[in-house]
Protein backbone atom coordinates (compact mmCIF):
# COMPACT_ATOMS: atom_id res chain seq x y z
CA UNK A 1 0.00 0.00 0.00
CA UNK A 2 1.50 3.30 -1.11
CA UNK A 3 1.75 6.26 1.22
CA UNK A 4 -1.29 8.53 1.31
CA UNK A 5 -0.07 11.97 0.30
CA UNK A 6 -3.25 14.00 0.25
CA UNK A 7 -6.56 13.28 1.89
CA UNK A 8 -9.44 15.67 1.29
CA UNK A 9 -12.70 15.18 3.15
CA UNK A 10 -16.03 16.95 2.75
CA UNK A 11 -14.50 20.14 1.38
CA UNK A 12 -16.97 22.97 0.93
CA UNK A 13 -16.01 26.43 -0.31
CA UNK A 14 -17.25 29.40 -2.30
CA UNK A 15 -16.84 33.10 -2.93
CA UNK A 16 -19.59 34.47 -0.74
CA UNK A 17 -22.52 33.93 -3.08
CA UNK A 18 -23.27 30.33 -2.12
CA UNK A 19 -20.90 27.38 -2.21
CA UNK A 20 -19.03 26.35 -5.36
CA UNK A 21 -17.71 23.10 -3.87
CA UNK A 22 -20.16 20.83 -2.07
CA UNK A 23 -18.30 18.30 0.03
CA UNK A 24 -15.42 17.13 -2.14
CA UNK A 25 -13.52 13.97 -1.17
CA UNK A 26 -10.21 13.14 -2.77
CA UNK A 27 -7.44 10.63 -2.08
CA UNK A 28 -4.01 10.94 -3.54
CA UNK A 29 -1.27 8.31 -3.23
CA UNK A 30 2.32 9.51 -3.27
CA UNK A 31 3.81 9.25 -6.74
CA UNK A 32 0.58 9.30 -8.67
CA UNK A 33 -0.30 11.38 -11.68
CA UNK A 34 -3.92 12.27 -11.08
CA UNK A 35 -6.25 13.94 -13.58
CA UNK A 36 -9.07 16.19 -12.43
CA UNK A 37 -11.54 16.78 -15.20
CA UNK A 38 -14.82 18.61 -15.48
CA UNK A 39 -16.76 21.15 -17.50
CA UNK A 40 -16.43 24.92 -17.42
CA UNK A 41 -17.33 26.29 -14.01
CA UNK A 42 -17.42 22.88 -12.33
CA UNK A 43 -15.12 24.19 -9.59
CA UNK A 44 -11.76 22.67 -10.56
CA UNK A 45 -9.80 25.89 -10.11
CA UNK A 46 -11.68 26.61 -6.91
CA UNK A 47 -10.64 23.22 -5.55
CA UNK A 48 -6.98 23.95 -6.34
CA UNK A 49 -7.40 27.40 -4.78
CA UNK A 50 -8.66 25.87 -1.56
CA UNK A 51 -5.84 23.34 -1.53
CA UNK A 52 -3.21 26.06 -1.95
CA UNK A 53 -4.76 28.40 0.59
CA UNK A 54 -6.00 31.14 -1.76
CA UNK A 55 -9.67 30.34 -1.10
CA UNK A 56 -10.72 29.63 2.48
CA UNK A 57 -12.81 26.47 2.95
CA UNK A 58 -16.11 26.75 4.80
CA UNK A 59 -15.97 23.15 6.01
CA UNK A 60 -14.11 19.91 5.48
CA UNK A 61 -10.49 18.97 5.98
CA UNK A 62 -7.23 18.78 4.07
CA UNK A 63 -4.53 16.41 5.26
CA UNK A 64 -1.20 16.54 3.42
CA UNK A 65 1.61 14.15 4.30
CA UNK A 66 0.06 13.74 7.73
CA UNK A 67 -0.21 17.48 8.31
CA UNK A 68 -3.48 19.34 8.69
CA UNK A 69 -3.52 22.09 6.08
CA UNK A 70 -7.21 22.99 6.37
CA UNK A 71 -7.45 26.75 5.97
CA UNK A 72 -3.65 27.17 6.05
CA UNK A 73 -2.21 30.31 4.51
CA UNK A 74 -0.55 29.91 1.08
CA UNK A 75 3.01 30.32 2.38
CA UNK A 76 2.47 27.42 4.79
CA UNK A 77 1.09 25.26 2.01
CA UNK A 78 4.11 26.02 -0.19
CA UNK A 79 6.43 25.24 2.69
CA UNK A 80 4.62 21.96 3.27
CA UNK A 81 5.45 20.95 -0.31
CA UNK A 82 2.50 21.81 -2.52
CA UNK A 83 3.00 23.94 -5.62
CA UNK A 84 0.08 25.37 -7.58
CA UNK A 85 0.62 26.38 -11.21
CA UNK A 86 -2.42 28.58 -11.75
CA UNK A 87 -4.76 28.67 -14.70
CA UNK A 88 -3.69 31.32 -17.22
CA UNK A 89 0.04 30.98 -16.20
CA UNK A 90 -0.02 34.19 -14.08
CA UNK A 91 3.66 34.95 -14.60
CA UNK A 92 5.26 38.13 -13.31
CA UNK A 93 5.02 39.54 -16.80
CA UNK A 94 7.46 42.45 -16.58
CA UNK A 95 10.21 40.38 -14.94
CA UNK A 96 12.64 38.12 -16.71
CA UNK A 97 12.20 34.38 -16.95
CA UNK A 98 15.08 33.92 -14.53
CA UNK A 99 13.53 36.28 -11.99
CA UNK A 100 10.26 34.37 -12.24
CA UNK A 101 12.10 31.13 -11.55
CA UNK A 102 14.09 32.62 -8.69
CA UNK A 103 10.86 33.86 -7.11
CA UNK A 104 9.57 30.30 -7.36
CA UNK A 105 12.29 29.41 -4.85
CA UNK A 106 11.30 32.33 -2.60
CA UNK A 107 10.97 30.28 0.59
CA UNK A 108 14.16 28.32 0.10
CA UNK A 109 17.28 29.54 1.82
CA UNK A 110 19.72 27.04 0.31
CA UNK A 111 22.24 27.82 -2.42
CA UNK A 112 21.00 25.35 -4.98
CA UNK A 113 18.72 27.71 -6.83
CA UNK A 114 21.00 27.81 -9.87
CA UNK A 115 21.15 24.04 -10.15
CA UNK A 116 17.36 23.92 -9.95
CA UNK A 117 17.11 26.47 -12.75
CA UNK A 118 19.32 24.10 -14.74
CA UNK A 119 16.94 21.29 -13.85
CA UNK A 120 13.95 23.31 -15.16
CA UNK A 121 15.85 24.00 -18.38
CA UNK A 122 16.54 20.27 -18.51
CA UNK A 123 12.80 19.65 -18.61
CA UNK A 124 12.17 22.55 -20.98
CA UNK A 125 15.21 23.02 -23.24
CA UNK A 126 13.28 25.71 -25.15
CA UNK A 127 13.79 28.01 -22.14
CA UNK A 128 17.57 27.59 -22.21
CA UNK A 129 18.34 30.72 -24.20
CA UNK A 130 15.39 32.71 -22.89
CA UNK A 131 16.27 33.14 -19.22
CA UNK A 132 17.00 36.85 -19.67
CA UNK A 133 13.88 37.53 -21.71
CA UNK A 134 10.98 39.43 -20.17
CA UNK A 135 8.41 36.76 -19.35
CA UNK A 136 5.49 38.62 -20.87
CA UNK A 137 7.11 38.58 -24.31
CA UNK A 138 7.29 34.78 -24.58
CA UNK A 139 4.86 32.65 -26.55
CA UNK A 140 1.94 31.02 -24.72
CA UNK A 141 3.66 27.65 -24.67
CA UNK A 142 6.90 29.07 -23.33
CA UNK A 143 5.00 30.98 -20.68
CA UNK A 144 3.34 27.76 -19.60
CA UNK A 145 6.77 26.17 -19.34
CA UNK A 146 7.99 29.02 -17.15
CA UNK A 147 4.87 28.72 -14.98
CA UNK A 148 5.49 25.02 -14.42
CA UNK A 149 9.17 25.73 -13.89
CA UNK A 150 8.35 28.37 -11.28
CA UNK A 151 6.23 25.78 -9.48
CA UNK A 152 9.08 23.26 -9.57
CA UNK A 153 11.52 25.77 -8.09
CA UNK A 154 9.83 25.35 -4.71
CA UNK A 155 10.82 21.66 -4.80
CA UNK A 156 7.27 20.44 -4.23
CA UNK A 157 6.18 16.93 -3.41
CA UNK A 158 2.87 17.67 -5.10
CA UNK A 159 2.61 19.78 -8.24
CA UNK A 160 -0.89 20.97 -9.15
CA UNK A 161 -1.20 22.26 -12.70
CA UNK A 162 -4.37 24.03 -13.80
CA UNK A 163 -5.24 23.67 -17.49
CA UNK A 164 -1.78 23.83 -19.02
CA UNK A 165 -3.17 23.10 -22.49
CA UNK A 166 -5.38 26.18 -22.57
CA UNK A 167 -4.80 28.13 -25.78
CA UNK A 168 -1.81 26.09 -26.91
CA UNK A 169 -1.23 24.36 -30.24
CA UNK A 170 -1.59 20.54 -30.08
CA UNK A 171 2.12 20.02 -30.65
CA UNK A 172 2.97 22.24 -27.66
CA UNK A 173 0.32 20.57 -25.51
CA UNK A 174 2.00 17.25 -26.23
CA UNK A 175 5.38 18.59 -25.11
CA UNK A 176 3.98 20.09 -21.93
CA UNK A 177 2.07 16.93 -21.00
CA UNK A 178 5.12 14.76 -21.68
CA UNK A 179 7.15 16.91 -19.35
CA UNK A 180 4.45 16.58 -16.68
CA UNK A 181 4.85 12.83 -17.03
CA UNK A 182 8.61 12.93 -16.75
CA UNK A 183 8.40 15.23 -13.71
CA UNK A 184 6.07 12.61 -12.24
CA UNK A 185 8.52 9.79 -13.07
CA UNK A 186 11.20 11.76 -11.24
CA UNK A 187 9.19 11.40 -8.04
CA UNK A 188 6.88 14.41 -7.90
CA UNK A 189 3.18 13.67 -7.53
CA UNK A 190 1.17 15.56 -10.12
CA UNK A 191 -2.43 16.75 -10.06
CA UNK A 192 -3.35 17.70 -13.60
CA UNK A 193 -6.50 19.75 -14.14
CA UNK A 194 -7.69 19.60 -17.71
CA UNK A 195 -10.65 20.32 -19.91
CA UNK A 196 -8.92 18.37 -22.63
CA UNK A 197 -10.09 15.03 -21.27
CA UNK A 198 -8.45 12.89 -23.94
CA UNK A 199 -5.05 14.35 -23.21
CA UNK A 200 -5.51 14.19 -19.44
CA UNK A 201 -6.67 10.57 -19.25
CA UNK A 202 -3.97 9.54 -21.69
CA UNK A 203 -1.32 10.82 -19.30
CA UNK A 204 -2.82 10.02 -15.90
CA UNK A 205 -2.87 6.97 -13.63
CA UNK A 206 -6.23 7.84 -12.14
CA UNK A 207 -8.86 10.49 -12.57
CA UNK A 208 -11.63 12.34 -10.80
CA UNK A 209 -14.59 13.92 -12.53
CA UNK A 210 -15.92 17.08 -10.92
CA UNK A 211 -19.47 18.12 -11.76
CA UNK A 212 -21.14 21.18 -10.23
CA UNK A 213 -18.81 21.13 -7.25
CA UNK A 214 -19.17 17.40 -6.52
CA UNK A 215 -17.02 14.43 -7.41
CA UNK A 216 -19.27 12.59 -9.83
CA UNK A 217 -16.91 9.77 -10.76
CA UNK A 218 -13.47 8.48 -10.01
CA UNK A 219 -11.35 5.57 -11.10
CA UNK A 220 -8.33 4.52 -13.06
CA UNK A 221 -7.69 6.45 -16.23
CA UNK A 222 -8.57 3.37 -18.26
CA UNK A 223 -11.90 2.93 -16.47
CA UNK A 224 -12.80 6.55 -17.04
CA UNK A 225 -11.83 6.39 -20.69
CA UNK A 226 -14.22 3.48 -21.12
CA UNK A 227 -17.01 4.89 -18.98
CA UNK A 228 -20.09 5.58 -21.10
CA UNK A 229 -21.02 8.73 -19.19
CA UNK A 230 -17.52 10.16 -19.55
CA UNK A 231 -17.41 9.22 -23.21
CA UNK A 232 -20.71 10.93 -23.81
CA UNK A 233 -20.09 14.09 -21.80
CA UNK A 234 -16.41 14.76 -22.42
CA UNK A 235 -15.18 12.73 -25.34
CA UNK A 236 -18.14 13.43 -27.57
CA UNK A 237 -18.68 9.82 -28.59
Amino acid sequence: MAEVLLEVRGLTAGYGAGPVLHGVDLDFQAGELLALIGANGAGKSTLLGVLSGLVPPTSGSILFAGRNLTGARPERVVRAGIAHVPQGRRLFATMTVRQNLVLGAYLRRDREVQSDIDRVVGYFPALGDKLQRVAGTLSGGEQQMVAIGRGLMGRPRLLMIDEPSLGLAPKVVETVIEVCQSINRDGVSVLLVEQDVVVALEAADRGYVLENGRIALSGSARELQDDPAVRKAYLGV
Binding site: S52, G53, L54, R73, P74, E75, V78, R79, A83, H84, P86, R90, L91, F92, A93, T94, M95, Q99, V102, L103, G104, Y106, L107, R150, G151, M153, G154
Partner: protein, 290 residues
Protein backbone atom coordinates in the same frame (compact mmCIF):
# COMPACT_ATOMS: atom_id res chain seq x y z
CA UNK B 1 21.15 84.64 -18.47
CA UNK B 2 22.61 84.02 -15.04
CA UNK B 3 19.15 84.65 -13.60
CA UNK B 4 17.80 81.87 -15.77
CA UNK B 5 20.61 79.52 -14.70
CA UNK B 6 19.86 80.42 -11.10
CA UNK B 7 16.20 79.54 -11.61
CA UNK B 8 17.06 76.22 -13.25
CA UNK B 9 19.28 75.32 -10.31
CA UNK B 10 16.63 76.34 -7.82
CA UNK B 11 14.07 74.35 -9.79
CA UNK B 12 16.19 71.21 -9.73
CA UNK B 13 16.78 71.61 -6.02
CA UNK B 14 13.07 72.04 -5.36
CA UNK B 15 12.56 69.02 -7.60
CA UNK B 16 14.91 67.05 -5.38
CA UNK B 17 12.57 67.68 -2.46
CA UNK B 18 9.65 66.53 -4.57
CA UNK B 19 11.50 63.36 -5.49
CA UNK B 20 12.06 62.60 -1.82
CA UNK B 21 8.43 63.28 -1.00
CA UNK B 22 7.04 61.29 -3.93
CA UNK B 23 9.17 58.12 -3.80
CA UNK B 24 7.34 56.53 -0.90
CA UNK B 25 3.97 57.73 -2.15
CA UNK B 26 4.64 56.17 -5.55
CA UNK B 27 5.80 52.86 -4.07
CA UNK B 28 2.67 52.52 -1.93
CA UNK B 29 0.41 53.48 -4.81
CA UNK B 30 2.10 51.20 -7.31
CA UNK B 31 2.29 48.09 -5.13
CA UNK B 32 -0.64 48.38 -2.75
CA UNK B 33 -2.91 50.37 -5.05
CA UNK B 34 -3.42 52.83 -2.22
CA UNK B 35 -3.42 56.57 -2.85
CA UNK B 36 -2.17 57.47 0.59
CA UNK B 37 -3.84 60.69 1.68
CA UNK B 38 -1.89 60.55 4.94
CA UNK B 39 1.47 60.73 3.14
CA UNK B 40 1.86 64.46 3.84
CA UNK B 41 1.17 63.85 7.54
CA UNK B 42 3.89 61.17 7.58
CA UNK B 43 6.25 63.75 6.10
CA UNK B 44 5.33 66.03 9.00
CA UNK B 45 6.17 63.27 11.50
CA UNK B 46 9.64 63.33 9.98
CA UNK B 47 9.78 67.12 10.34
CA UNK B 48 8.86 67.02 14.02
CA UNK B 49 11.23 64.13 14.66
CA UNK B 50 14.14 66.09 13.22
CA UNK B 51 13.03 69.26 15.01
CA UNK B 52 12.83 67.37 18.30
CA UNK B 53 16.23 65.72 17.95
CA UNK B 54 17.81 68.98 16.83
CA UNK B 55 16.23 71.15 19.51
CA UNK B 56 16.42 68.79 22.47
CA UNK B 57 19.44 66.63 21.70
CA UNK B 58 21.44 69.02 19.55
CA UNK B 59 21.82 66.55 16.71
CA UNK B 60 22.54 68.01 13.27
CA UNK B 61 19.36 67.79 11.17
CA UNK B 62 21.07 65.80 8.42
CA UNK B 63 22.29 63.25 10.95
CA UNK B 64 18.72 62.73 12.19
CA UNK B 65 17.58 61.41 8.81
CA UNK B 66 18.37 57.73 9.50
CA UNK B 67 16.50 58.01 12.79
CA UNK B 68 13.51 59.57 11.02
CA UNK B 69 13.56 56.65 8.61
CA UNK B 70 13.62 54.07 11.39
CA UNK B 71 10.82 55.72 13.37
CA UNK B 72 8.60 56.11 10.32
CA UNK B 73 9.37 52.57 9.16
CA UNK B 74 8.06 51.24 12.46
CA UNK B 75 4.98 53.48 12.41
CA UNK B 76 4.29 52.54 8.78
CA UNK B 77 4.58 48.81 9.45
CA UNK B 78 2.16 48.98 12.38
CA UNK B 79 -0.36 51.20 10.59
CA UNK B 80 -0.48 48.89 7.59
CA UNK B 81 -0.49 45.65 9.55
CA UNK B 82 -2.99 46.82 12.13
CA UNK B 83 -5.27 49.07 10.11
CA UNK B 84 -4.99 49.19 6.35
CA UNK B 85 -4.53 45.44 5.82
CA UNK B 86 -8.05 45.02 7.12
CA UNK B 87 -9.58 46.89 4.19
CA UNK B 88 -6.94 46.21 1.54
CA UNK B 89 -9.24 44.03 -0.56
CA UNK B 90 -12.04 46.61 -0.41
CA UNK B 91 -12.51 49.03 -3.30
CA UNK B 92 -10.12 51.96 -3.70
CA UNK B 93 -12.68 54.29 -2.13
CA UNK B 94 -12.39 52.56 1.25
CA UNK B 95 -8.63 52.83 1.43
CA UNK B 96 -8.91 56.48 0.38
CA UNK B 97 -11.36 57.06 3.20
CA UNK B 98 -9.17 55.23 5.68
CA UNK B 99 -5.99 57.13 4.79
CA UNK B 100 -8.00 60.36 4.86
CA UNK B 101 -8.99 59.45 8.42
CA UNK B 102 -5.42 58.58 9.39
CA UNK B 103 -4.37 61.96 8.03
CA UNK B 104 -6.90 63.74 10.28
CA UNK B 105 -5.89 61.73 13.32
CA UNK B 106 -2.20 62.53 12.79
CA UNK B 107 -2.86 66.24 12.31
CA UNK B 108 -4.88 66.31 15.52
CA UNK B 109 -2.13 64.51 17.39
CA UNK B 110 0.36 67.13 16.14
CA UNK B 111 -1.97 69.89 17.35
CA UNK B 112 -2.27 68.18 20.69
CA UNK B 113 1.44 67.66 21.22
CA UNK B 114 3.02 70.60 19.40
CA UNK B 115 0.18 73.16 19.32
CA UNK B 116 -0.43 75.18 16.18
CA UNK B 117 2.86 77.08 16.60
CA UNK B 118 5.31 77.30 13.76
CA UNK B 119 8.67 75.76 14.54
CA UNK B 120 11.90 75.80 12.63
CA UNK B 121 15.27 74.13 12.47
CA UNK B 122 17.93 76.79 12.03
CA UNK B 123 21.57 75.70 11.89
CA UNK B 124 24.76 77.73 11.74
CA UNK B 125 24.99 77.02 8.02
CA UNK B 126 21.33 77.67 7.24
CA UNK B 127 21.80 80.86 5.25
CA UNK B 128 25.10 79.95 3.61
CA UNK B 129 25.57 79.17 -0.04
CA UNK B 130 28.05 78.54 -2.77
CA UNK B 131 28.70 81.46 -5.11
CA UNK B 132 29.58 80.61 -8.69
CA UNK B 133 29.82 83.86 -10.59
CA UNK B 134 26.46 85.52 -10.22
CA UNK B 135 24.73 82.26 -9.30
CA UNK B 136 24.13 81.27 -5.67
CA UNK B 137 23.53 77.70 -4.59
CA UNK B 138 22.22 77.37 -1.02
CA UNK B 139 24.11 74.58 0.77
CA UNK B 140 21.05 73.16 2.45
CA UNK B 141 19.06 72.88 -0.74
CA UNK B 142 22.02 71.33 -2.51
CA UNK B 143 22.39 68.77 0.26
CA UNK B 144 18.67 68.04 0.07
CA UNK B 145 18.97 67.37 -3.66
CA UNK B 146 21.96 65.07 -3.19
CA UNK B 147 20.26 63.16 -0.38
CA UNK B 148 17.05 62.84 -2.39
CA UNK B 149 19.06 61.26 -5.22
CA UNK B 150 20.79 58.92 -2.77
CA UNK B 151 17.40 57.96 -1.38
CA UNK B 152 16.12 57.24 -4.88
CA UNK B 153 19.21 55.15 -5.58
CA UNK B 154 18.78 53.21 -2.35
CA UNK B 155 15.11 52.47 -3.03
CA UNK B 156 15.94 51.48 -6.62
CA UNK B 157 18.64 49.13 -5.37
CA UNK B 158 16.32 47.65 -2.77
CA UNK B 159 13.54 47.07 -5.28
CA UNK B 160 15.68 45.65 -8.10
CA UNK B 161 18.52 43.86 -6.38
CA UNK B 162 17.18 42.31 -3.20
CA UNK B 163 14.99 39.30 -2.50
CA UNK B 164 12.50 41.43 -0.57
CA UNK B 165 12.39 44.01 -3.34
CA UNK B 166 11.47 41.30 -5.83
CA UNK B 167 8.83 40.02 -3.47
CA UNK B 168 7.33 43.51 -3.31
CA UNK B 169 7.38 43.75 -7.10
CA UNK B 170 5.77 40.34 -7.37
CA UNK B 171 2.96 41.39 -5.04
CA UNK B 172 2.47 44.56 -7.08
CA UNK B 173 2.28 42.51 -10.28
CA UNK B 174 0.00 39.67 -9.20
CA UNK B 175 -1.10 39.09 -5.60
CA UNK B 176 -2.33 35.54 -6.13
CA UNK B 177 0.75 34.44 -8.04
CA UNK B 178 2.92 36.03 -5.36
CA UNK B 179 1.14 34.05 -2.67
CA UNK B 180 1.56 30.87 -4.68
CA UNK B 181 5.35 31.15 -4.51
CA UNK B 182 5.05 31.50 -0.74
CA UNK B 183 5.14 35.26 -0.24
CA UNK B 184 3.30 36.32 2.92
CA UNK B 185 1.01 39.02 1.60
CA UNK B 186 0.27 40.68 4.94
CA UNK B 187 3.96 41.01 5.75
CA UNK B 188 4.94 42.33 2.33
CA UNK B 189 2.08 44.83 2.36
CA UNK B 190 3.23 46.09 5.74
CA UNK B 191 6.87 46.20 4.61
CA UNK B 192 5.96 48.19 1.50
CA UNK B 193 3.99 50.72 3.48
CA UNK B 194 6.81 50.88 6.02
CA UNK B 195 9.40 51.63 3.33
CA UNK B 196 7.07 54.27 1.87
CA UNK B 197 6.67 55.85 5.30
CA UNK B 198 10.43 55.73 5.93
CA UNK B 199 10.96 57.68 2.69
CA UNK B 200 8.35 60.20 3.84
CA UNK B 201 10.26 60.52 7.10
CA UNK B 202 13.52 61.31 5.31
CA UNK B 203 11.69 63.82 3.12
CA UNK B 204 10.25 65.45 6.23
CA UNK B 205 13.67 65.63 7.86
CA UNK B 206 15.04 67.35 4.76
CA UNK B 207 12.11 69.75 4.57
CA UNK B 208 12.44 70.77 8.21
CA UNK B 209 15.67 72.55 7.28
CA UNK B 210 14.09 74.70 4.59
CA UNK B 211 10.60 75.53 5.81
CA UNK B 212 8.48 76.22 8.86
CA UNK B 213 7.01 73.21 10.65
CA UNK B 214 3.37 73.14 11.63
CA UNK B 215 0.69 70.44 12.02
CA UNK B 216 -0.67 71.00 8.52
CA UNK B 217 2.67 71.65 6.80
CA UNK B 218 2.36 68.34 4.96
CA UNK B 219 -0.90 69.02 3.19
CA UNK B 220 0.56 70.49 -0.04
CA UNK B 221 2.98 67.57 -0.31
CA UNK B 222 0.30 64.94 -0.72
CA UNK B 223 -1.00 66.83 -3.75
CA UNK B 224 2.50 67.43 -5.07
CA UNK B 225 3.47 63.79 -4.68
CA UNK B 226 0.34 62.89 -6.59
CA UNK B 227 1.26 65.23 -9.44
CA UNK B 228 4.85 63.95 -9.54
CA UNK B 229 3.65 60.35 -9.87
CA UNK B 230 1.15 61.26 -12.58
CA UNK B 231 3.85 63.24 -14.40
CA UNK B 232 6.61 60.64 -14.20
CA UNK B 233 4.47 57.53 -14.28
CA UNK B 234 3.75 54.77 -11.82
CA UNK B 235 5.81 51.70 -11.14
CA UNK B 236 9.49 52.62 -11.17
CA UNK B 237 11.84 54.76 -9.16
CA UNK B 238 13.42 56.40 -12.22
CA UNK B 239 9.99 57.68 -13.25
CA UNK B 240 9.59 59.39 -9.88
CA UNK B 241 13.04 60.97 -10.18
CA UNK B 242 12.25 62.37 -13.62
CA UNK B 243 8.76 63.46 -12.56
CA UNK B 244 9.99 65.16 -9.38
CA UNK B 245 12.89 67.07 -10.95
CA UNK B 246 10.77 68.14 -13.90
CA UNK B 247 7.94 69.28 -11.67
CA UNK B 248 10.33 71.36 -9.55
CA UNK B 249 11.70 72.95 -12.71
CA UNK B 250 8.25 73.67 -14.10
CA UNK B 251 7.14 75.27 -10.87
CA UNK B 252 10.14 77.54 -10.43
CA UNK B 253 10.37 78.51 -14.09
CA UNK B 254 6.65 79.18 -14.38
CA UNK B 255 6.76 81.38 -11.29
CA UNK B 256 9.82 83.33 -12.39
CA UNK B 257 9.41 83.53 -16.16
CA UNK B 258 5.66 83.86 -16.66
CA UNK B 259 4.49 87.36 -15.81
CA UNK B 260 1.74 87.42 -13.25
CA UNK B 261 2.48 83.99 -11.75
CA UNK B 262 3.92 84.46 -8.29
CA UNK B 263 4.68 82.22 -5.34
CA UNK B 264 0.97 81.93 -4.52
CA UNK B 265 0.33 80.02 -7.72
CA UNK B 266 2.05 76.81 -6.82
CA UNK B 267 -1.14 74.76 -6.44
CA UNK B 268 -2.60 76.16 -9.64
CA UNK B 269 0.57 75.19 -11.52
CA UNK B 270 0.48 71.71 -10.01
CA UNK B 271 -3.10 71.35 -11.10
CA UNK B 272 -2.39 72.56 -14.62
CA UNK B 273 0.44 70.03 -14.96
CA UNK B 274 -1.86 67.31 -13.67
CA UNK B 275 -4.59 68.06 -16.20
CA UNK B 276 -2.14 68.43 -19.10
CA UNK B 277 -0.46 65.10 -18.41
CA UNK B 278 -3.75 63.28 -17.94
CA UNK B 279 -4.93 64.58 -21.30
CA UNK B 280 -1.72 64.19 -23.30
CA UNK B 281 0.02 61.19 -21.75
CA UNK B 282 -2.07 59.48 -19.07
CA UNK B 283 0.52 56.82 -18.29
CA UNK B 284 3.08 59.52 -17.42
CA UNK B 285 6.40 60.20 -19.11
CA UNK B 286 8.07 56.90 -18.18
CA UNK B 287 5.07 54.92 -17.02
CA UNK B 288 4.04 51.53 -18.26
CA UNK B 289 0.56 51.28 -19.63
CA UNK B 290 -1.46 49.13 -17.29
Amino acid sequence: MSLFVQQVILGLMLGGVYVAVAIGFSLVWGVLNIVNLAHGALVVVGMYATWFLFTHAGIDPFLTLPLDAVVLFAIGYLVQRGLINRVIRAPLFFTLLLTFGINLVLINLFLLWFKADFRSVTTSYSGAGLNVGAVTIPYIRLAALVIAMLLAGAVGFFMNRTRTGFAIQAVGADKDAAQLVGIDLRHVYALTFAVGAACAGVAGGLLSTVQAISPTAGEPYTLQAFVVVILGGLGRVSATVVGGLLFGLIEVLAQSQVPGLGAGWSNAIAFAVLVLVLVLRPQGLLGRLA
